[in-house]
């Protein structure tokens, strides 16, 4: 039944006119600014206000993965009329559901600076206590670590709460280049010269019977290897926050020689390490072969590249190796 409008208005005015009892607190409020932000799961261009990085000091220490997207423009969160000892808390949800982690790192109380300490890992549909209490203002870096490459837009609702009041930051995450592969150097000239005296064969060496030459697979024990020189290894850098990815490689030749040019990859280390491999390399062919499995986050892998021409080339042959992480 609908009350007469005049009666309802009277009740409202009467309610507003009642003064607060002495000592009775006003209802707490919580505000979040901005109310929404968005980024692309793109390691190269995540979008305005967002960066993709590895091993930042503000990443929650409990994360096993070293890479994430950070909203460095800060989200300002403030609470008023709250009890002095009431803790702030936060949770997140995703829609549609996807696998990711969310962290919050305090970047300042008066302005948006740079967090000095590791952030707090926020619970999924479970409020996690933050360090702030009562009436306060805090500027946060928001750290999002998608552990899969999303194929459609995902909304992340990050809710801050003090006592019984809450405010939500809506983060829209859209698909992008979730994984990037960079190879250094991107090209290398190999002179098919066992003496290496006829020209500059920088980075390459010809040798027989080395442990990284896949002698059990190849019927030949000799090959040219890149990695033994001062230039060091071929370095494959994979930048991503995605977990459980594999690295595969294959190669093509142009023009196609009358006899094969065999290619193998022997892992020589990770990061900046380039040591002589102790084990035979993985032979790669025209179809992708897995050279590294079950990796998480951003990684750098160093390889010796072993090339074994089974013929004496009479003109230049381009061997193009393609590395794919997924």
């Amino acid at each position: 039944m609908r009350l007469p409008r005049f009666f309802a208005a009277t009740l409202l005015i009467a309610a507003l006119a009642v003064p607060l009892e002495q000592g009775e607190a006003a209802n707490p409020t919580m505000a979040v600014s901005p109310a929404a932000t968005s980024f692309a799961e793109d390691v190269n261009s995540p979008g305005s206000g967002w960066t993709f990085g590895t091993g930042a000091a503000w990443f929650p220490a409990v994360w096993s993965d070293n890479a994430a997207y950070t909203y460095t423009s800060c989200v300002r969160v403030s609470a008023a009329n709250a009890n002095g000892n009431s803790s702030w808390s936060a949770e997140y949800t995703t829609s549609p559901s996807t696998s990711l982690h969310v962290g919050l790192a305090v970047a300042g109380t008066a302005s948006c600076g740079t967090p000095a300490a590791a952030g707090t890992d926020i619970g999924n549909s479970s409020f996690t206590t933050l360090n702030q209490t009562g009436n306060a203002t805090a500027y946060y870096y928001v750290v999002v670590q998608p552990t899969v490459a999303v194929s459609s837009t995902v909304t992340i609702s990050l809710t801050f709460k003090v006592q019984s009041t809450a405010a939500t930051l809506a983060i829209t995450m859209s698909p992008g280049n979730a994984i990037a592969v960079t190879i250094t150097p991107s090209s290398a000239g190999l002179l098919e010269d066992v003496t290496l005296s006829a020209g500059n064969n920088s980075g390459w060496a010809f040798a027989a019977g080395k442990p990284w030459i896949p002698g059990t697979t190849w019927n030949d024990n000799s090959a040219y290897t890149y990695g033994t020189g001062a230039a060091g290894c071929f370095t494959v850098s994979v930048r991503t926050s995605v977990q459980n990815w594999n690295l595969s490689a294959f190669y093509t030749t142009s023009p196609t020689p009358s006899k094969p040019i065999n290619v193998a990859l022997a892992q020589a280390g990770t990061g900046s390490t380039c040591n002589a491999p102790a084990a035979a390399g993985t032979v790669i062919g025209s179809s992708p072969a897995t050279v590294l499995a079950n990796q998480g986050g951003t990684q750098t892998v160093d390889y010796y590249v072993v090339v074994q021409p089974a013929l004496a080339v009479t003109s230049n042959v381009a061997v193009t190796m393609t590395f794919t992480a997924q």
């Binding site: 005049f6 490459a149 994984i179 290398a188 066992v194 030949d220 090339v307 381009a318 193009t320």
Partner: protein
Amino acid sequence: MTTDTREDEDCSCSKALRLSNGNLARACTLTVVLLAMAIRIALPVPAHAATSGSGNVVITVTPGQSVAVTVTPATLSLSEDVTSPGTGWMFDATNAAWMPNAWTHGTYFYGVSGSGNCLAITISTSLSNWGLTAYYGVSGGLTSGNTSLALAPSTAACGTPTSSQVLSANSGAQTTLQTSQNGSQTFYYYVAVQPTIATAANATITITFTAQ
């Protein structure tokens, strides 16, 4: 002016109040639509979404010396002296079993079992299915007409051979020593030299090995 505290069924703001004339309800709906449009416009639109990443590296293979042959030692010195032919050399008056059957004269040979004194031919290459050939030439006090050469396969320890091959003196018809080889290899040989005259002047015998 009056105020209606009921939820506005036309407005996306479920807790919004509506004035009795309903104007606020329409204004609220419009605000939400504009906000949604603003968010949509602000979304970064990726050029393409990718659940994998790839990178290329190009290795350009250019022609060079794809096969190298090294002979050790590179030079030998033989004295045509049946009693003292020189270091590493011996004179066999009756010809050992491994020497060519057709040779009826005494022969000088280089190679001492277990001493490391034999010829080592090292081929360095990544190529497959190559062969090794050889021929010899003579200059000075001897000629190919009065000097025969043979090579007898041995081992890394220069073990006594069991057979041999007579070398051709014709570069156009070289003697095949090895076939269907792959990659880098080293072969060991005894060298047999049979001059049929006593040379009056120094002679140079050059053996040329070719892998291809």
